[in-house]
Symmetry: C2
């Protein structure tokens, strides 16, 4: 991990936060590059030093979090769903601005599907339809079923302002998953 100049970290952070704040206020398509640079208190040109355009910016933002979640998944591969979920929900809470924006605004349906893909993909390693309680079921159905369940639960959680502690919701969804996989 080669060191990154603190100036680029600060610029990127300011830009990403700005875009999230703006997305909470209006539709993504209505956000201009100048809006973002103003909010981030950064020169307009600086945005182009890091991103092609605002769509590239949104992509990179989403991809970064998806990637982090995947890493968390793999570093927690030996845990139960309960324990693993706890790590995820902690991450959700730490980045609530991103997730609540992404799961609340209608324009961010793209993120929802990227997120669902990740969940299904990661659960695929865990599921076993050759024996046990899921013998005879379709793997695809099983994954889509519980993938949608988890994503929907996370959505609900953010839509309602994270009404219960990360640890608690992680535990409860973990119980449901451990019971079924």
């Amino acid at each position: 991990m080669t060191k990154v100049d603190r100036r680029v970290l600060k610029s990127r952070e300011a830009i990403k936060t700005a875009v999230l704040e703006l997305m909470a206020e209006k539709n993504f398509d209505d956000i201009t590059i100048r809006d973002i640079s103003d909010r981030a208190n950064v020169n307009r040109g600086t945005i182009y030093l890091h991103y092609m355009d605002k769509y590239d910016l949104l992509d990179k933002l989403i991809e970064e979090h998806i990637s982090n979640l995947r890493d968390l998944c793999h570093s927690a591969s030996d845990m139960t769903f309960q324990e693993g979920n706890y790590v995820w929900f902690e991450y959700f809470a730490d980045n609530h601005l991103f997730f609540s924006t992404m799961l609340n605004t209608k324009s961010a349906a793209y993120f929802r599907s990227r997120f669902l893909d990740l969940v299904v993909q990661e659960y695929k390693v865990e599921v076993d339809i050759t024996e046990g309680k899921n013998q005879g079921l379709s793997e695809e159905v099983l994954l889509q079923f519980f993938g949608a369940a988890v994503v929907g639960t996370v959505e609900w959680w953010f839509r309602n302002g994270m009404p219960i502690a990360p640890r608690v919701i992680a535990e409860q969804t973990g119980i449901l998953l451990d019971r079924n996989f």
Copy 2:
């Protein structure tokens, strides 16, 4: 007013906020330049681009606010004490990090006297001992008396976490001043 590069504004802002946060945590003498640069997320050398040392930094910080208060005073010279006080207490509230730090920490007695000087100096224009209710009184005593009163009230206000709205405390101290000057 020549335009200042947005980078210097951001650096100065980060440095000033950092020093105030640190002063709320420990004695000024125990704060190192490295503490400040770490907290401000700025290179250590950057601090020396703007300030001679940490004492110069504190001086400039104080001087800036004293100067702003003086400007507010003069732009409100045609108001009653009530109205003028409101402008001041609004400024206090907007910069509560600075004032509550400066008036709470014991190491900042210097600011208190700079502040008192300003108040006395500005009230000097308003007071009239040649006629009216204050005829025969010593101007110096009068100024020190009500200067200390106002500074002490502001201190109390911050020490107790700004328990009443700026508008209200401004009004009440304004009544007391209008009644006496």
